[in-house]
């Protein structure tokens, strides 16, 4: 028993007295808190609902109490009685109205006589406003039915009440998942090759062999980054093709996924974002690798960055509802790539934002190469063992 404690004590001492190991234990928790807090305020500022923005709810045959009942739910809505059901459905479909609530004729009379009148609500899943309004009104009507002890027939008709097209639904599901998964794959692909590159050379002692040759430090940095980028891009493209091929099966449960709806332009756009993003990841990871004392330390230092990439990747799920981020948000690396991919997959591609994303990332890459060349000139870092 004593020996168990002796071994245990030694192992715990190893973990809790090594500052770097301790940091790797504590850092994820701190990172989650900091990044989620930051993202929370960032997204509420960027995508948060405008308090003055009203939900547009169109009704047919609505009982007189409908507007007051809706107000009681706290939903800031503009209720508009309409007559033409098809025209209203078209408005929901093209997002100029959020939902259409259709009450059966003489709804109140039928209700008072104990009948089961029907209520139908048409909505559009690719419009987050519509989803929110649908959930609120559906909940309100359901509660009312419980209250009056009469079961309404809620959306009991045949066919779908979701007015989004199959293509739009597919695009929404893909936009929610693909940029996030893709960003993780891109980072992992770069991490597999870049963390080892310079730290490994330092560890093996081969970096000094290179540094005594007349090669310019910037040429060395650029040569390494280009080679690593090509490798990481190949890895990323293979992952991307695999992902695209498996997506219809992976997400089959969420509806029919048809990747064929995207044209060559979309795929070329995605390819462009993948290339600049992978090269940028490679540059960042190469810098981390150059600063680290060993490959192990480089991998540990890369983990918090991976956290950031994952958490920023989540923004594609939040931003896919239609609210587009502001212009300056496309100047933020990683975030801009995620949003660009989301834009491409949601079929709301904006060439200007794509261009800003590519140029911003290229500028960051150039800055990274400059920093890496400086690191190669820094004896403190190269001989930091």
């Amino acid at each position: 028993m004593n020996k168990i404690f002796t071994v245990m004590k030694k192992e715990l001492k190893r973990f809790f007295t090594d500052k770097r190991l301790l940091a790797s234990l504590v850092l994820p928790g701190i990172m989650i808190f900091v990044i989620y807090s930051f993202m929370g305020s960032f997204f509420s500022d960027m995508f948060g609902e405008d308090p003055d923005k009203k939900f547009i709810i169109q009704t047919i045959n609505a009982p007189s109490s409908f507007s007051d009942d809706l107000k009681a739910t706290g939903l800031n809505a503009e209720v508009k009685a309409v007559e033409d059901k098809d025209a209203s459905k078209e408005e929901v479909k093209n997002k100029s109205a959020d939902i259409l609530v259709f009450f059966e004729e003489e709804f109140e009379r039928k209700l008072s006589e104990g009948e089961q009148p029907s209520v139908e609500i048409w909505y559009n899943t690719v419009n987050t406003q519509s989803q929110t309004a649908y959930n609120a009104v559906y909940g309100m009507i359901y509660s009312r039915s419980v209250e009056v002890k009469t079961v309404f027939v809620l959306n009991g008709g045949e066919g779908s009440y979701d007015l989004a097209t199959k293509e739009e639904t597919s695009a929404m599901i893909i936009t929610m998942m693909l940029p996030f998964i893709l960003m993780i794959f891109l980072f992992s692909g770069a991490m597999a090759v870049a963390t080892e590159s310079i730290a490994g050379e330092k560890e093996r002692g081969t970096i000094a062999t290179l540094l005594v040759t007349p090669i310019k430090r910037s040429s060395l940095a650029l040569g390494k980054i280009l080679a690593l980028s090509v490798t990481a891009i190949v890895s990323s493209l293979v992952s991307f093709v695999g992902l695209i091929a498996s997506l219809p099966k992976l997400m089959g449960g969420m509806g029919d996924i048809d990747m064929g709806m995207y044209g060559v332009g979309t795929y070329l756009g995605v390819l462009g974002v993948i290339v600049v993003t992978v090269v940028m990841f490679t540059v960042v990871l190469s810098i981390i690798s150059a600063l680290a004392k060993s490959v192990k330390e480089a991998s540990q230092l890369a983990l918090p960055v991976m956290f950031v990439v994952m958490l920023v990747g989540v923004s594609s799920m939040i931003g896919s509802g239609g609210a587009n981020p502001r212009f300056w948000a496309y100047l933020i690396p990683v975030y801009n790539s995620t949003q660009c991919l989301a834009g491409l997959f949601s079929l709301s591609f904006d060439p200007l934002f794509f261009l800003i994303t590519v140029i911003t990332n290229i500028l960051f890459i150039a800055l990274g190469v400059y920093i890496l060349a400086k690191i190669f000139n820094s004896e403190k870092i190269i001989y930091n063992k």
Binding site: E201, R204, T209, P214
Partner: protein
């Protein structure tokens, strides 16, 4: 005699980490590794920097080879200053140290071509020189075997050859025979003498007295980053064994410091 290397008042101080302070048993945050070092090396000679571990030999050679920068002073290699034109110096020197390692994944043949290209050696000249050097060291037998599968002696031969792919006139060897078996060590020392006979200038660092006595024309004794004696081997030893002379100086210097 033509002066190929001139080292002038070289100074280098390192900041110590807490761990290093504990190891050195000092509260000083800085360690003076090289303290006003000056010496020269002339064409066609082997100059030996002799000193105990931590004396500042490797730091001096790293400054000359442009791997690190001096805080003060300068080193001029065949007219090129390490401070003003490090790229120019790198073209003129060959540098080999026990720390210089080769990537296990590649073969000696591939690495030779790679470093030749980095040194801008024309293809034909590179091939001719490769054949000569590989034959001289028997590398052709394992030229296409990955470095990771070679013995320590084989690796050292490959490192040696790769450090002189560009046929430099000035060569720096930091502890050239450290960790080598006697046969490889003899191959290296014989080759250093061959290079000297070809008119190359060589600076080595070592703590092995017999090596200095065997191959060096002139010697500089470094203790605590200072040059305590420099000159022709015969002038310094005056018929006494080098080891005895060294310990006399060491006792005097360390005693005077403490």
């Amino acid at each position: 005699m033509e002066e190929i290397l001139r080292v002038e008042n070289l100074k280098k101080t390192f900041k110590l980490s807490r761990k290093q302070q504990a190891l050195e048993k000092t509260k000083n945050k800085y360690k003076v590794a090289v303290n006003g070092l000056s010496f020269s090396a002339y064409k066609g000679e082997i100059f030996g920097l002799l000193g105990p571990n931590g004396a500042g030999k490797t730091t001096t050679l790293r400054i000359i080879s442009t791997l690190i920068r001096a805080d003060e002073g300068d080193a001029v290699v065949d007219g090129e200053s390490v401070r003003k034109n490090p790229d120019g110096v790198r073209k003129k020197i060959g540098f080999l140290t026990g720390e210089l390692k080769l990537e296990d994944f590649f073969t000696p043949d591939y690495l030779y071509d790679y470093f030749s290209a980095l040194h801008d050696v024309p293809k034909e000249e590179s091939e001719r020189r490769k054949a000569k050097l590989f034959s001289r060291f028997g590398i052709e037998k394992f030229a296409h075997v990955k470095v990771g599968d070679l013995s320590t002696g084989m690796k050292q031969k490959v490192s040696l050859v790769i450090s002189i792919v560009h046929d430099p006139d000035f060569i720096i060897f930091d502890e050239p025979t450290n960790g080598l078996d006697v046969i490889t060590a003899k191959t290296v020392t014989d080759f250093l003498l061959e290079l000297k006979n070809e008119g190359k200038t060589i600076v080595i660092s070592t703590h092995i007295f017999s090596l200095v006595e065997k191959i060096c024309d002139r010697v500089g004794i470094i203790i605590n980053g200072k040059m305590t004696a420099e000159g022709n081997l015969k002038e310094i030893t005056r018929e006494k064994p080098l080891e005895e002379v060294f310990f006399d100086i060491y006792s005097r210097e360390v005693g005077s410091d403490e």
